[in-house]
Homo-oligomer: 297 residues x 2
């Protein structure tokens, strides 16, 4: 077995499909029955997350925690964040800490310590590359020594992502092409048996032509794909960022967390989340098969 975390993720996607559950837990998402059951915020959030995890872990690839939602609640929120990660580690489920950090090397070392070890330890983290490759490098020793992984922002799912990422650089394509190429090149030192690297990239599914080109150019980069569902991305848009249904995981947060509201299923909210995770997985599977058929035909 390879030492690279990307191989574990690849295997999980082969087995369970591409869904990444985004635990972007806002208090307003938690049903009253849970809120009333606990005397403090951290326990209510953790209990909510735990029930979603227990109900979905066998039909999804991994779990992503958007740390901003926890930071917004101060120390209590971060205790819930810590407890959720602890629980996921205990269950040996794969975690992505969506922290999008990026800083000079001395500071990057501190962020690496914060999110690859200790109370907030996660398998993967997301990073922002604006400050350059020396802001990514301090994390790389952990990819070998602790089987950790990274997803660096390349082309994000939001509308404004064009402001900087789409600019054309003299002789190097767009900014996102250039960033993608630099990350792909750094990532070649961390290839797993799957052919993918534990240094992956974030590519939104809301910009289809860009995603297609990136999928073609970045041969060994594993994709973290935001933008499906609430942000407007469709299964067809996701399919072009995958390779025969692997090579990436697709995040969904609100649509999975809030599925119970559609069904008015407040007591067994996690059952609705499971149904939505399965629906999403099958939706993407169908789109992948259709794309394969089209490519062969």
């Amino acid at each position: 077995m390879s030492n690279q975390i990307v191989d574990r993720l690849y295997e999980k996607v082969e087995k369970n499909g591409v869904v990444c559950v985004g635990l972007d837990t806002d208090i307003s998402y938690i049903p009253e029955s849970i809120i009333n059951e606990f005397t403090n915020i951290e326990d209510a959030i953790f209990q909510y997350n735990r029930r979603i995890i227990d109900a979905t872990y066998d039909v999804v690839a991994c779990f992503k925690l958007q740390i901003a939602y926890y930071e917004a609640l101060g120390i209590s929120g971060l205790i819930a964040y810590k407890k959720t990660l602890e629980y996921l580690r205990e269950r040996k489920l794969i975690t992505i800490a969506d922290i999008k950090r990026g800083d000079i090397a001395a500071t990057a070392k501190m962020y690496a310590k914060a999110h690859f070890t200790g109370e907030f330890e996660s398998d993967f983290i997301t990073l922002n590359p604006y400050m350059g490759m020396d802001s990514i490098e301090p994390y790389l020793p952990y990819l070998e020594s602790k089987s950790k992984g990274i997803f660096a922002l390349v082309k994000t799912s939001n509308k404004g992502s064009g402001d900087i990422q789409d600019c054309n650089i003299d002789g190097k394509g767009t900014v996102y092409d250039h960033v993608g190429n630099m990350i792909e090149s750094l990532g070649r030192d961390f290839l797993g048996n799957s052919g993918y690297s534990s240094l992956g990239v974030v590519v939104g599914c809301t910009h289809i032509e860009q995603a297609k080109r990136l999928r073609e150019n970045l041969k060994s980069s594993y994709f973290l794909i935001p933008g499906y569902g609430a942000q407007g991305g469709k299964a067809e848009d996701v399919a072009v960022s995958l390779r025969v249904g692997n090579g990436g995981v697709v995040n969904s947060s609100r649509k999975i967390l809030l599925a119970y509201k559609e069904e008015e299923n407040y007591l067994h909210f996690e059952d609705s989340s499971r149904k939505e995770a399965i629906r999403m997985r099958e939706d993407i599977r169908r789109a992948v098969l259709e794309l394969e058929a089209k490519n062969e035909g």
Copy 2:
């Protein structure tokens, strides 16, 4: 009096000079006497920070907390972070939370809540603009309603900053020029009486020619200037990023925090920090005067 926080910072620089004390407190920086005095990490860090603050507040412009150093210690570190910000608020001193966040609008709203309100409330925050202007906009309402401020990364002090920031975009100069222009333009809605905006920029003093050009082009942007001292920037390099000794604050972390080690002044470590803060202020004042003389001559 204007409602813009940038005016408070401008006045403070007029009175106390340009030094920003970087409270990037690593445990290894804290003298043993303090460590032994307290039974938990958060109290030791807070006590160390408090003594540095008390010893320097009247000779500096503001205090910057690099949150990575606190995140690296988990919940305890973040309690020390919270306590330090609380103390600074109590003393009505100006704070910069160096968090370099950047995310889609829904997430940015959470970060704004996290760092402009509640337990981690700060006057200014730093932001990473890679995801575009819609990742900055959710913070802007706080500039009016709560007199908050922002420093967006434009040209950072590290070597690798060239990887992306220095790339030439067709017809728009470099990436950092383009980002600087977008921020300057957004910032015009938040101008104070000083002529500066509460939406400022981060421009390192380690790339002198770039800093000069940015200082000329970004008429109303207030600068947060890293890179002095430990990172190699000199007073002369800083002077070109200022206007007659204002228009920016200059961060120093390790050189101020660890000044006591140079003097083997372990018991009254904060006195060495004060001396270093004054030395740095006068060093930059001298360079500003020399530059003025040269420009007039």
